[in-house]
Subunit: 339 residues, 2 copies
DNA sequence: ATGAAAGCGCTAACAT
DNA sequence: ATGTTAGCGCTTTCAT
C-alpha cells in the first residue's frame, strides 16, 4: 500500500494534521518536529494524493493542455513555455493530444475536467467556440486558447501576430534589395490571410507594387509541401521578370522552392533570396541554410501559461485578454547575399 | 458551481446512490428511472469528479505517459497507438513531456503518481533503472518502458527490434543488387549498435564481406544530421570502388547523403540506392522520394498500451514482459531502380 | 428497485 | 505547538 499521511503520523507519534501542516509549510510547527517529519517523509518516499487534497481544497495545482498532435516541432516550444510558467508557480502540466480530431478534442477536455485541472489551455481544432461556451456555463475554469483561434472567440487568446509574420519576411527581402518578391501563400485560413496582408502592407509601405501573379496559391493541396513549393517556383521562374525574392508560408515550402531554383542553376542568395517560416531546426540547416521567421513559441507558451495562472488567481474579476506575440527573423545564408 | 451527483438527485427526487448506479451501468434500476437520469445528466452536462471516485475505488481509469519531447514525429505514432489501446478499454491517457531532462522526468512521474494514474508508460531518458526500482518499492503501479530501454531493465518493455532495422534495410539493398553497401551509422548507443549488427548479419548471410570503411561514424556530432549525411557521403564517393548502396541511421542523414550524391551527378537509384530510417512523411517526400524503414510506432504504442492494461487487470500475477516490434520497409524511388 | 450510512485521504476551522 | 472534528464527492455495503 502507498504511504499516507496517517502512516507517517503513526510512525512519528504525531497527528496527521501535524504532518499535513509541515508539508504545506505552515509556520506554527516547531523546527524540530518539522525536521523530523521532513526526514521521514523523504525516507518513506511519501507522495501526496492530489485526488484527496483536491476534494478538500478544490484545487489540483495542475493545468491541462490539449493540442492537436504530439509530432509538430513548433508545438514543442509552446509546451516548453507553458511548462515553464506553470512550474514557476508550483503547478504541474498535463498534456493530451487530440490526434487532429475535433470530436476527440472535446472528449479530452472532458477527461481534464473530470481530473479537476485548475485551468485549461487549448490549441483547438474547433472552428467555432460554441462547445466552449456551453462548457463554461456549467463549470467555469479559466480557459486559454493558444496559437489557433476559433472564429468569433471571446475568451483568452494567446497567438502569433500573423500580420507581422508576413510583414517582417517581406521587409527583410526588401532590405535585401529584392524588387520582385513572390509569396508562396499557404492554405485558405484566417492566419494565412493575415500573413498575406502583412506581405502586401510591407510592399505598399516601401512603394513597391503588389503584383498578384507573384502570390502563388497551392494548386494541389494533396501534394507534399515540398512539392508544392517546388512546383510553384518552377512556374515563377518561367515568368517574364523572374522574382528575386521568395517568401513561403512554411519552411518546407521554402526548401522545395530553393531546390527548384537550384535545379535551374539560379544562384542563392546572389540571384534570388528565400525566407521560410517556422525556423525548424532540421529544415533550416539543410543544403543552403534558410532564413526563417521564428514563431517565438516559447514566449508564446510562457504568456499563455501566465495568463492561465493569472486567471486562476484572479477569479472571474479578470476579463478575457488577447495577446499577440511578435515573431522574429532569423537570418541565414538563403538571404545573406546583397543585404 | 459544478454539477454534482447530489444536484441531479435532488433535481429528480432520487437519492444520489441511484444516479451513481445508473452512471455505472448497474442493472438493479428500472428502465424508466434509468432513462430519466441519463436524460438529465446530459442536459446538465454532468462531468464526474474522478478525484472523488478514485478516492473511493482506488482507480482513476487513467494512464500516464512520460516522454522526452512533444516535437518528434516518430513519437506521435506511438502516442496514437497507446491512446487507441487505452480508449478501447475506457481509459484516458495523459501525457507529460520531460523536455529531454532526466531529472525533470522524475518529477513528472511524481506528478502522475500523485494524480493517481493507474499505470505509467515511459519513454525514459534515465540511463539506469534505479529510480524506478525505488519507486516500485513504495507504491507499485504497472510500469511499461516504451521505445527506449535503460540498462539492466527488468520491467515491462516494448520497443523496436533494432537488429531487424539494420537487417531489413541491408537485405533490401542486397535485393536491389547492391554489392558495396555503406552504412551511415548513428550515435554510439545500444540501439545504434544493434542496427549495425543487423547490417553485418545481413551481409554475412548473403556472402558479402563487411568492409569496415563502409561503415561511417559521424565525425562531428554537433553538426546537423543533414550535414553529417552529406559529408560522410562526399567522403564515400571519393573512395576507390564507390558504394552502390547507402543506408542511414535516420531519414535526415539519408536526405543529406542523397544530396551529396546528386551534387556529384550520381544518378539515383540507377547508380546508387538509398534507404533511410523513420519513414518521416515530410522527409521521405522530398526531392527523390526516400525508401525508409518504418518504425511501426502505432503498433508499438498499441502493444505498450495493452501491456499496461493487462498489468492493471492482472494485478502482480503477470510477470514482466519484453516485446520487440518488427519494423517494415517502405519502398520508394530512392531504391527502385534495379530491384 | 431504491436508499442510508460509512469512509476513502486530505485539509479548513476550530480547540487545547 | 499540536490535535480534534467534520466534510469535500463519490462508491461499497447493507438495509428496506
Amino acid at each position: 500500500m502507498r504511504v499516507r499521511l496517517k502512516d507517517i503520523a503513526k510512525d512519528l507519534n504525531l497527528s496527521k494534521m501535524t504532518i499535513s501542516k509541515v508539508l504545506r509549510g505552515q509556520t506554527d510547527i516547531s523546527d524540530e518536529t518539522k525536521a523530523r517529519v521532513l526526514k521521514r517523509v523523504k525516507e518513506l518516499k511519501y507522495i501526496p494524493n492530489i485526488s484527496a487534497s483536491s476534494l478538500r481544497t478544490g484545487q489540483t495545482k495542475t493545468m491541462g493542455l490539449v493540442l492537436p498532435s504530439i509530432g509538430k516541432p513548433h508545438l514543442s516550444a509552446i509546451v516548453d513555455g507553458i511548462r515553464h510558467a506553470a512550474g514557476a508557480q508550483g503547478y504541474g502540466l498535463i498534456v493530451s493530444p487530440s490526434q487532429e480530431d475535433a470530436e476527440y478534442e472535446q472528449r479530452q477536455i472532458e477527461v481534464f475536467l473530470s481530473l479537476q485541472v485548475d485551468a485549461l489551455l487549448i490549441v483547438s481544432l474547433q472552428e467555432t467556440t460554441t462547445f466552449f461556451e456551453q462548457m463554461q456555463r456549467s463549470k467555469s475554469i479559466p480557459l486559454v486558447f493558444v496559437d489557433h483561434r476559433p472564429a468569433g472567440i471571446m475568451q483568452n487568446y494567446v497567438g502569433l501576430h500573423d500580420v507581422e509574420v508576413g510583414r517582417i519576411a517581406c521587409e527583410h527581402l526588401i532590405h535585401c534589395a529584392c524588387k520582385r518578391i513572390a509569396y508562396l501563400r499557404g492554405p485558405r485560413t484566417a492566419a494565412a490571410d493575415m500573413r498575406a496582408k502583412g506581405y502586401r502592407q510591407a510592399l505598399n509601405e516601401h512603394g513597391l507594387a503588389v503584383q498578384s501573379d507573384l502570390v502563388v496559391e497551392s494548386m494541389h493541396p494533396e501534394e507534399s509541401e515540398y512539392r508544392r513549393g517546388y512546383e510553384a517556383t518552377v512556374r515563377l521562374l518561367q515568368r517574364r521578370g523572374r522574382p528575386d525574392g521568395v517568401m513561403a508560408y512554411s519552411d518546407m515550402m521554402a526548401v522545395g522552392a530553393m531546390d527548384a531554383a537550384i535545379s535551374q542553376a539560379v544562384r542563392i542568395p546572389e540571384e534570388m533570396c528565400f525566407v521560410g517560416c517556422g525556423d525548424d531546426a532540421l529544415l533550416c540547416s539543410m543544403r543552403i541554410p534558410l532564413t526563417s521567421i521564428n514563431i517565438a513559441g516559447r514566449e508564446l507558451g510562457l504568456k499563455a501559461g501566465q495568463l492561465a495562472l493569472a486567471a486562476i488567481g484572479g477569479g472571474n474579476g479578470s476579463r478575457p485578454q488577447r495577446i499577440l506575440i511578435k515573431p522574429r527573423l532569423v537570418r541565414r545564408k538563403s538571404s545573406d547575399g546583397h543585404c
